[in-house]
Amino acid sequence: MKLRFLSIVAAAALVAACESAPENTGAASGGGVSAPPPARTAPAGIVKGSKEDFIANVGDRVFYDLDKSSLRADAKATLDKQAAWLKTYQNYSFTVEGHADERGTREYNLALGERRANSVREYLIANGVAASRIKVVSYGKERPVALGSNEAAWSQNRRGVTVLN
């Protein structure tokens, strides 16, 4: 009987591993990043048509009920405003991020986040925003914004966020 085994990876290989970046297999970001249109200063000091304007005056996110990806009435109201703004400021491409709370398993939450991001995407497209401007990405439960382990936090983390490029 003869046993053989491959060596544990040598430290050298590990270093090599860390230095050999993988092949880039996808677009790094949705190009089309654009400067905001010419400025007009709003009372709050926020430039109309800027990213800050979108976040402060439109609302960049919508929230979901537990384990749901359907859009609530408040979410649709926000997305109506998003659609109007995005049609006004045509230069932006954007990514819709789908997120879940921590009360689900990792892989299911990735799929759920994907569903949520697509619910936003589809609503915006139905309201006249060009599909070519939209990318989606799911983070599952990996990127909470509220840190508590309670429903108040979880309801903030079950979200779809429109991130302008």
């Binding site: 009987m1 003869k2 046993l3 053989r4 085994f5 491959l6 060596s7 544990i8 990876v9 040598a10 430290a11 290989a13 590990l14 090599a16 591993a17 860390c18 050999s20 970046a21 993988p22 092949e23 880039n24 297999t25 996808g26 677009a27 790094a28 970001s29 384990d67 990806s69 921590e102 009360r103 689900g104 398993t105 990792r106 892989e107 299911y108 990735l110 799929a111 759920l112 994907e114 569903r115 991001a117 697509n118 619910s119 995407r121 589809e122 989606v136 990405v137 799911s138 983070y139 990996e142 990127r143 909470p144 914004v145 509220a146 840190l147 508590g148 382990s149 936090a153």
Partner: protein, 445 residues
Amino acid sequence: MSRIRLLAAVAVTLILGLASYPSPTHAEVRIDITNGQMRPLPIAIPDFIGAGGQENQVGRDIARVVSADLERSGLFKPIDPRAFIQTAASLQIQPRFPDWKAINAEALVQGKTEIGPDGRIRVEFRLWDVMSEAYMTGWTLSSSPADWRRLSHKVADAIYKRVTGEDGYFDTQIVYVAESGPKNDRKKRLAIMDQDGENHRFLTEGGELVLTPRFSPSAREITYLSYFKGVPRVYIFNLDTGRREALGNFPGMTFAPRFSPDGNKVIFSMAEDGNTEIYEMNLLTRSKTRLTNNPAIDTAPSYAPDGAQIVFESDRGGGQQLYVMGAGGGGANRISFGDGRYATPVWSPRGDLIAFTKQKGGRFFIGVMRPDGSGERLLAEGFLVEGPTWAPNGRVLAFWRDSPSDERGRGQSVRLYTIDLTGVNERVMLTPVDGSDPAWSPLIP
């Protein structure tokens, strides 16, 4: 890559053993590990000794690793060496069984170390049944000095196997996701270590989010999810070369990967336009096959050890439940019918059970059921327990536990655990930082 040979100095040892000592078949020492209330077997593991200082040092280290492996299994109770009567040196000549009976040892390990002129370590060990004064098993192996821990784990595996009748699982590794930083900006790195936490090293730097690593059957490759450049995709990491490559170029997010038992395929999920389906990628032909087709979330696939069936989770019936389908896809049978939601199914390497994560009443559980859905048993419970993975002998599971945090994220602790299939002997796995998503390797070839 250097390739190290472990020279088995023969099955001859075993044959000689049978000739020279009372037959192992008369041994009384035996642990029935199917019963959760087993009594740990008192075992004496004196230092392995050699002719000189360095050989003795290695021998002490080996005995310590063997002892820790066996103790952690919950099936053995190593006796404090300070109680030993017969010296290790004297033991080399002949075990004096009354000395070992006097301290209630039921099994005794006799070990010898030698360091050759080329630096290689040679280990010889014998396992004795103290009560019947019978030889049970033994062998001689050698390795490079760097692999002395593997020699030790192989000794522990041999003892475990001889006493329990089941294969050991100590000469194995764990790959997992090492976590650090605040809860809303968690840095996640792939890390790999021996199953006892030693030889720990990071495989990625933390620049991109990584999740759900799983070993190939050779234990030389790891498939995992990486957000490299912001795009979530399945990758394969080769431990020998350090190369990472994407499984393929797909239109949607790919995730939840696992190798097939023959290593020729990776099964995974792809989400497209919000709908998640299960696909298989043939690594030899690079062809992709879709295995599910419905508007539900179908994910977390895992092959049966014979490769003929796949268990996965789906919410096609409303909530997350477990389903089994043929490896070619098509019709699937639901197997989970209890209250609550069922997720992350993983088929045991023995084929007899499927481990899963269950959510019910605001709690999480790790459980097992038979592949037909019968015989459900819950093994571990918590605020969040998730992601079971099987030790290669199908007797022990690892998983991870997360604790609740306050509004500022304080109190969170994410740790790896192991538990016996019978639901006893839960132990934390020591990792330098927090850890999640463990995957247990096969026995290292």
